[in-house]
Subunit: 228 residues, 2 copies
DNA sequence: CGGGGACTTGAATCAGGTCAACCCCAGTGG
DNA sequence: CCACTGGGGTTGACCTGATTCAAGTCCCCG
């Protein structure tokens, strides 16, 4: 279940990918603290759970992670999907405030929270990187809230596809790793509405669904137009 | 328009109020940097606008501030309301990413961003406070997103009222400073739905609307129940 | 080849939005 | 003192878009 793996080149690469902002000190910290601990999680495995003590900080090496919260009525809201290079787990308090799961198979670097906290307490640059990181999350969360509050189903789905495209470096051919249910729970819709909307977009010639998870954006410009 | 005022005791108090988390180093920074600059904004005045250079960092001394973003179609989404003790304005980038306005008359402490940034670059504790602050925002924003994604109109309005009550130290008699439109734009609803929902809550005997802005929570326990 | 999970699709329903009329009240000017 | 005005708020009738309910289909995997 948790194979120890090691792949120097991968770890180097990760620092560059999808770093929404460069974090040299944080990279350095991961390099010096995470040397040994790299762990693999199979599809669907829980990385940490809401309410658990936040003893570790993680960075995605490979795969996709979903971070979500459950409401009292059992409904699930996915806060974000995390991709290689993204950090997860740092909390201001002692407990995790949401749950993280592997969407497909995932490989993570792991750093003890305490060690990182001690390093940060003595290193302004590292603390500054953590600050910028959390500001980025804050920004992303606000953007997400805006979508949930004000956009219709079509805009949400289109926005999601465009986001995936950006994530994949602007590619027009997307391999969605997540299920329709994941997408729905991220966009605040039902699985039915997501499915219908995708079908409609295909009917309109804007996308092509070659298989369940393979989406081709036929007219990215027009889609961006629709997205506002 | 911008009267210079000074009220030592007020400024001391502010540091304690609604500090969702103590920030001693940040308080200290405000104390040492903001000595002179305290400014009053009249009802509706813009404090800073989306896209403007973020040259200052502010802290609310008195009054309520709304922070919002506008969509391409002109709709407004209020991200948050800020109350005495809350900080606004720090950005990871160079520009403000949303607009801040005075809801009623507002008094703010003002610190030059550059001075604060220089202080932070040499002070781990201060940078750490900024980090915890942005983590709090992130948390709040995620909570907000959850509400927008998954709750019905009644739950949203009830949640808002309860939030106002908490803000007022748990009081059952609330003096809403914002308009119905503000509430609607915060909750992702229309003014009509907010109005209807309030009327319905009153009809159900859960609240009492003594005047437009005066709300009494008659059954806070039951309301909390409804909120989940 | 059979089973089951993931997905799609149609029809009925409903919550909230839209449109439109109206009220309430503070401020203003006659 | 009263009439006028305008902004904020309420309320009703109707509409629409997303959910719900209910079949189905597709496809992966044993």
């Amino acid at each position: 279940m948790n194979t120890q793996i090691k792949h120097e080149q991968d770890l180097e690469d990760v620092a560059q990918k999808r770093s929404r902002r460069a974090s040299p000190a944080l990279d350095q910290a991961f390099r010096s603290l995470a040397g040994a601990l790299v762990r693999r999680y199979p599809r669907g495995a829980e990385i940490f759970g809401e309410g658990e003590p936040a003893n570790f900080v993680y960075r995605v090496v490979e795969g996709t992670v979903r971070v979500y919260r459950l409401l009292s009525d059992g409904r699930r809201q996915i806060c974000d999907f995390l991709y290689p290079g993204d950090v997860l787990g740092p909390e201001a308090g002692l407990l995790h405030r949401n749950t993280a799961e592997a969407v497909g198979d995932v490989v993570l670097q792991i750093v003890p929270r305490k060690a990182l906290a001690e390093m940060a307490a003595a290193d302004v640059d590292l603390t500054g990187d953590l600050w910028r990181l959390s500001m980025d999350w804050f920004q992303r969360s606000q953007d997400h809230a805006l979508i949930l509050a004000r956009q219709g189903a079509t805009e949400r789905v289109v926005g999601f596809l465009l986001g995936c495209s950006d994530q994949a470096g602007g590619a027009d051919d997307l391999n969605l790793v997540m299920t329709r249910q994941d997408i729905a729970d991220y966009l605040g819709l039902t699985i039915h509405t997501v499915s219908r909307t995708l079908s409609q977009l295909q009917a309109d010639g804007l996308i092509e669904l070659s298989s369940l998870r393979q989406v081709r954006l036929c007219d990215a410009d027009n889609l961006r137009e629709m997205n506002g």
